[in-house]
């Protein structure tokens, strides 16, 4: 069964690059462009992994992550946070909110894909 990945991001060009990378890596993707949409998609789509931008319109990435973690149905869902701010306290906050990994923009595509693989392998 193909792993499902939810891309929660509001920048079109970044969405396009992530969609391409994930599909090429052999995953199924779906996109949410704000926090509420991300939560709704997560509940409905039950992805193995969420690529979650912190600076989302509406609910922030932190809020979304906390709610995913609070949902027992999504216990198996991994969360990888993406941020353009990169401050270390953001990373701490992300980990506190329950993120499994944390990637700073701009990222290396090789590194990103490798991390995604590793997370999904851990999830099994």
């Amino acid at each position: 069964m193909t792993p499902r990945i939810l891309i929660a991001e509001d920048e079109e060009s970044i969405i396009a690059s992530l969609e391409f990378l994930m599909r090429r890596a052999g995953y199924e993707t779906r996109v949410a462009r704000d926090g509420d949409a991300a939560l709704a998609s997560a509940a409905q789509y039950a992805p193995q992994l969420v690529l979650l931008d912190i600076m989302l319109p509406g609910l922030s990435g932190f809020d979304v992550c906390e709610r995913i973690r609070a949902d027992p149905a999504l216990r198996a869902t991994r969360v990888m946070m993406l941020t353009a701010r990169g401050a270390s306290d953001d990373e701490a906050r992300g980990r506190a909110a329950g993120a499994d990994d944390y990637v700073t923009k701009p990222f290396s595509t090789h590194d990103l894909v490798a991390r995604v693989r590793a997370l999904l392998a851990r999830g099994r």
């Binding site: 690059s17 992530l18 462009r33 319109p57 990169g86």
Partner: protein, 920 residues
Amino acid sequence: MLQPWVVILGSFGYIALLFAIAYYADRRAREGRSVINTPVIYSLSLAVYATAWTFYGSVGRAAHDGVGFLPIYVGPTLMILLWWFVLRKIIRVAKLVRTTSLADFMASRYGKSALLGGLVTVIAVIGILPYISLQLKAMSSSLQIVFAYPDVGVHEKSSTMPIQQVTAFYVAMFMALFTIAFGTRRFDVSERHEGMVAAIAFEAIVKLVAFVAVGVYVTFFLFDGFGDIFGRAAERPELARLMAPFDSPGAVSDWAWMTLLSMFAILFLPRQFQVSVIENVEEGHVKTAMWLFPLYMLAINVFVLPIAFGGHLAFPQGNVDADSFVLTLPMSHQHEGLTLLVFLGGISAATGMVIVETIALSTMVCNDLIMPVLLRWKRLNLAGRGDLTALLLDIRRGAIVLILLLGYFYFVAAGEAYALVSIGLISFAAVAQFAPAFLGGLYWKGGTRDGALAGLSMGFLVWLYTLLLPAFAKSGWFGMDIVASGPFGIEMLKPTRLFGLSGLDPTTHAMIWSMIANIGGYVLVSITGRQSAAEHSQATLFVDVFTQTGERGQQWRTTTSVSALQTLLGRFLGPTRAAELLQAYATVRGFKSAEELEADAGLLSFAELQLAGTIGAASAHTIVASIAQEENLGLDEVMTIIDEASHVIAYSHELEGKQQELEAATASLKAANERLKELDRLKDDFISTVTHELRTPLTSIRAFSEILYDHPDIDPAERHRFLGLVIKESERLTRLINQVLDLAKLESGLAEWRTADLDLREIVVDAVGATSQLFKAQGVQIEARLPARAPLVLADRDRVMQVLLNLLSNAVKFCPPRTGRVEVRLTQSGDATMRVEVEDNGAGISAEHQAVIFQKFRQVGDTLTQKPAGTGLGLAICRQIVSRLGGRLWVESEPGRGSTFSFTLPLAQASDEVRAVANA
């Protein structure tokens, strides 16, 4: 049979015993094994307070006044409660300044004033004379009474007077010899008279034993105990009267004053000062004395009333002087042994008082009266002579003889007119005059030498007038007219009814007036006058003795040679002692011998202190001043100090002002700092935001570059789309960087402005032209409404164009495609400005958002799914530009009804006027 020779032999035997005790104690003291260094001996020596007055006179007073004798003992007991604070302080100071007498102590406190020391000495000598005469009288009459043994009734005052005078003279001269032998055998006034103190303590025991023995004999052998005596006395009205203490008007105030008088006496009688302060070995002994001495006083008073009543009951005819009851009661029953014991007890009481009192007085007379005069007598060149110790001894011996002679003369002049107690009270009232200046000096730094002189002399004069004068008048020295009707017949000035104050005991009357004069003079003159520097330093030393530490102030200015100093010390202390002292001083300071010392201010002060222990503070000061120069504080110097002080005060006011300025500055600095912190925070936010804005396009550019690089097999259409995104994000990045830099330039004021007179119509037309493609692409209509002619504005053309383009592109961005409509209007607004309005029919902006859209990076999206293109800096830049050009940029909008962005620019003409006004 108690023959006179038995009495004489017994007396001499007793006195020989006293000498033996004194000799033993002195020898032990020289060996460094003091026998008097115990609290019990110290307490017993204080009992020198109980003199022949107590021994014989208490019974006499009780026989007349009943319990009226008690205040004399209640006072000291009350004072003793305060001893731990008062006496200990006095002892501490006295040891520090090496005081030799009461007069020396007071002179030292008030700036080592020789004048004050002299005055205190004069008052003490004159004041104590009645007291000494009292002892002479008691001794000579007791001798006569004993000589008449066993006959007790022959003591007739008039017929025996000449005989008694002769006896008294012999007694006085014998006492003088006795005292000289006791007190001035060696020259050791500064050290202590250990032998004398030991003898005094022994005498205290003898007189107590003798008195209690009589008391027990009368109470339990002549009568059947206390109950029997008091019962029998109560049956007789004139005796029953004596048992009620406050029977007459004014009695309570008499008691109060008598008590106060005795409180002062226990401190200020020269002999009390001598034994309690000068002879004190250790401060801690005061603690024991505080309970033992009152106990002694109680014991010696228990039998006073029984003996008084016993005497009255035994001699109902009244032909026996009540003052002699103690002696005559055992005599009348021919109890020889007890009679002799009582006689020796009386001798003890009297000799103890006379020895200590005359030694104390002779020290004062020598150190504070004669030496200062001799030293000031330049022609004598006393300080330059050889060994002076012999001279000092002679002066003291002479003083002792003189004082006893004067006492004798007082006795001849006034002795018979008064009972023992009344004579004693005159002396008490005299020494009470020391209280204000003494106690004031101990606790009030403000007390001055002049105040002390004024208070003492005024109090003393009142004492002379209200107590001594009537005493002399009563003795028949001069007429009673003055006492009876006042000087020159002026009633108000009657010595015993001064200013109409009547109904009081003469002593109480004198105390009230003398204390008013004394305290008034002391306080008033002290307050209104000024202290000299020397006085001030001594005042601080005395008052703060418990809190001071370290070396005393040294007031010697120049140095002298050590040998000169040694010679000087040798003259007064003896060469051996002088050498010892200097050697000790040198050793303490780490020198091998005195020759290595330098005679600096410290050594001079040391020498002065050693001399003070021998000849008193005032004289010591004079002597050292003869070989060294004193640090004299002249009026000029004092004025300089005051001047400096006022400068200091002015300076401190200035400082206060400065401090307020500083506080204000600190406050504004704090505010500035807060603002800086806020700005710093804003800057951090800005940088963090800019970073974020830069990272976003960079992320896409890097991701697509890597994708295209890694996947050469990618579908051409997709490759094209990705490359397009790379280009678009690169443009966004470039725009962002440009705008950030632009904004930074505008905000820092570094932007360059090329202002000129502009026709806004041209600029609007150009801007519309430049954006027409954009409008066409979005299907949005644009229309410009321009007036036929417009006044010129003063502005930078490129910048105005930048603002307009920004507003137009914003408008088209937020307009609905196809139905969108944008209108640009140009109008004159008021006299001085042109207004440009850009209206769209887009979604509109809520009031809440209107406030934030002009801030950096605050964008308001009009769709949920897509952020508006742009950096979020455009409107912030526009507002900066317009305000720099002297105009205003704002928005009017309602959600759903479109938005109108307007800005104004000043007219060129108006700007000229503004500039003209500004330049005027």
